[in-house]
Amino acid sequence: MTVDKIWVYAESADGKATSATLELLTKARELGSTVEAIYTGSDTDAVAAAVGEYGATKLFVIDPGDGLPGQVAAAPIAQLAGEHNPDAILFAQSYDGRDAIARLSVKLDQPVLTNGMSLSDDGGLLFGTGIFGGVTLVDAKFSGGGPALIAIRPKSFAAEPSGGAAAAVEAVAAADAGRAAEAKVLERHVEEQQGPKLEEATVVVSGGRGIGAAENYGPLVEELAKQLKGAWGASRAIVDAGWVPYALQVGQTGKTVKPKVYVALGISGATQHLVGMKGSDNIIAVNKDAEAPIFSVADLGIVGDVHKVVPALIEAIKAKS
């Protein structure tokens, strides 16, 4: 399968194309000669400018109305794919991206490869991912015909602008999504986020079960993050326990972060967590269990009680500033 025409399923947040979208476009430009984007949402002009700047020449726009974007998108994309024959359609491993690739795979009766971390041309698309918490790398290829449906984890590629002009917008006629269109978004709730964004911060401090209780998160994790002008995150364990909101989760099912410094407090280092932070430049771990897997990736590991080490650390940093 040669790779010529690549489509990217574009997404936006706060009226701007997401960084994951721009990363996919950059990679698509490297692999294919024609890069086009599909977008289900509003703020079309801003998104067309952004995807154009990263190499897309065309932006197919689908109006989701009050439907779930990923569900409503599948029927028109399937129709478009039949008309334009893209070799591959790339999706971000995101909430809506996952809905869209899943529904589309059924519409086109095509297999999917998801959670990708690399993509290259090896006489056809070579897809790479990490399994078992990223310790084993696996490369896979599709053996059938296109379009190849692939979802890639955010932060897998650098986003580099091509300096292209705004993509030409082409409105896509509605296609019958069947009962999928019955799912309606009634309300949107935005949870207030303080401090720098997890995905963008230079320093990330995360807490896990080892911090002992929900009320310790603020004085230990959040406070240390603030002292280091960083963002604060969490392991899945304490998100599931309801100590902190899901938006703070770092890991396989949460956010992927690659800060200059990642500080893991009371996190054992389940593979689920390691996948989301292993790419950090420097990792510091504090955990009382000397055998915790987090120490296998830590540049500096302190086997100790977070309730003793962290307050002393916060005091020491305050004394320096």
């Binding site: 779930l68 990923g70 569900q71 491993q93 995101s94 909430y95 996952r98 809905d99 899943a102 529904r103 059924v106 297999p111 999917v112 490869l113 998801t114 070579l126 078992f132 990223g134 310790v135 790398l137 696996v138 896979a140 290829k141 599709f142 069947g178 999928a180 019955e182 799912a183 309606k184 978004v185 009634l186 309300e187 949107r188 709730h189 949870e191 280091l228 899945r236 599931d240 899901y246 938006a247 396989q252 099912t253 410094v261 420097n282 504090v286 830590a298 540049d299 500096l300 590991g301 302190i302 086997v303 100790g304 009680d305 003793k308 962290v310 002393a312 650390l313 020491a316 940093i317 320096k320």
Partner: protein, 259 residues
Amino acid sequence: MNVVVCVKQIPDPAVPGALAADHTLDRSGKLILDESDSYGVEMALQLVDTAGEGEVTLVSMVPNGEVSGLRTALAMGAAKAILVSDDALAGSDALSTAKVLAKCVERAGGIDLVLTATESTDGYTGTIPAQVGELLGWPSLTFAKHIEIADGKVTIQRQTEAGYDVVEASLPAVVSVTAGVVEPRYPSFKGIMAAKSKPVDAVTAGDLGLDAGQVGWAGARQEIVNVAQAPAREAGEKFEDDGTGAEKVVAFLEQLKVI
């Protein structure tokens, strides 16, 4: 209110995973109920309880006719199970698996709601919920952290990057639940005993009307071409905290010019 919960029986995540010779995940050892699915089972039991009628049916596809994970979910209170185990299904990808699960939902019959996890802990392709929805021709509400059923409609709080959306659809529908949507119960002794005699309908792909070309290796249409160990991170330094732990962290942060 009749609910199907798709459950996966997986190798114990506490044991390091391995690939079999054919590059599929080694599932030859003991398999247990994927913890991610225990939330769906609990949610289903609560919804049926609230409705005051109906039952929970489990659907599971697994090699070797394994039932130990199913028994766990039956012990929690599910009424019965459909178990698909068939050599023809070896090598199945997510789409093939979704086809099997959708056929099982049809086989169960009269189902109002299908619950799934957002992804399995072992394979985590993460597309099955919406694929099953599309195959059934039903809406799929994904990433639910809260569910309510009323007047023939399901309303969820759907996790988003920024917070959550309130999303509604009429039944029947597929809903994927995030971990933590409810607190799964522990099976009682009585439940464990009762589970032993609950009906498990063992079926093959053929029984479900699927032919071998649609599922298994043939259906997957993908191949693993290379498996390698990731370069290990260089082992760092590890210290027992003897009261100087904080100082060591400060020194490291200074060296990195973060403070």
